[in-house]
Symmetry: C2
Subunit: 152 residues, 2 copies
Amino acid sequence: MDIVQQIRDKGLKATPARQLVYAELTRSHMAYSHAELEALFLDIDRVTLYRILKDFEDAGLVHKVFDTQGSTRFAICHHTCPGKHHAENHVHFNCNDCGRMFCLQAVQTPEINIPGGFRVAGMHTLIYGSCEKCNQLTDKNEPTDKIQEVIV
Amino acid sequence: MDIVQQIRDKGLKATPARQLVYAELTRSHMAYSHAELEALFLDIDRVTLYRILKDFEDAGLVHKVFDTQGSTRFAICHHTCPGKHHAENHVHFNCNDCGRMFCLQAVQTPEINIPGGFRVAGMHTLIYGSCEKCNQLTDKNEPTDKIQEVIV
DNA sequence: AAGTAAATGCAACAATGTTGCGTTTAAGAT
DNA sequence: ATCTTAAACGCAACATTGTTGCATTTACTT
Ligand SMILES: [Mn+2]
Ligand SMILES: [Mn+2]
Ligand SMILES: [Zn+2]
Ligand SMILES: [Zn+2]
């Protein structure tokens, strides 16, 4: 479906800034930090970007997750997403080397039994290590500074 | 072992503030936010508290974790702790109602196979829901504002 | 008891996120 | 096509969380 229409379908105006952000998140399937998005879209105001991400999250277009440093990141919601709690269904991977974070849409969060009187509502699973790109680059002793397209 | 000696064994001076913080973390086995500790120890300077927690973490006395809000929390390291990466061995539970966070020392993080060229170094498992106390209080429609001792 | 490196307290700064408000604009109605 | 208006934007100001520099104090060694 058209990006403009997807934004409008959530009751939001399809402004240029929103189209840019949504297109990028859709394209790369990665979880972006605020800093990463600011660097990508230098002409979008910092506050506007905060509000766009908040609006997208409330609308269920994106989900918010935290990386291993506790920094906030945003990623697109898959088309079969059940709404704002989408992030809880799948596992995330954070690369220690390049810092990028991936939504592993195909990997569901595991089942865990915990003792005591806890009532479980959901869980977050964050795996860390090094991504495919960084594995290869480490082997070749090359720099790992570029952010490139990845589909997981 | 004596608290003073445990702190000294890591090459740190056993100051009054450090003894207070370490004793509390040892007693409750919970993961405390900075705000919770500040409220508990009003006479400890804010910056000093930051430095105490950083020093404890570097020394392997405590581990740092993030809760469902992305807020930083600190918890004691178990006596059989392998050092700074202690937090990665066990599961954490964050109560949606009272906000408290528990170290489930007895619950190991699960094994997960992920596709692609990712090299896994470790994982964080954060479960959320409501704790035993809040379950009971919800049933009885009572307030849930008190922080009390819990051993998990 | 004295000496010294470590720790503390305070102020200033930095990073991240929020709020208020006047201006601009997207999208529906005419 | 133009008008209308609620929504979105841009900017400044503020709030929260965490860090750094430095003068003073204190825990531990001798
Ligand atoms: Mn995701
Ligand atoms: Mn823990
Ligand atoms: Zn990488
Ligand atoms: Zn609770």
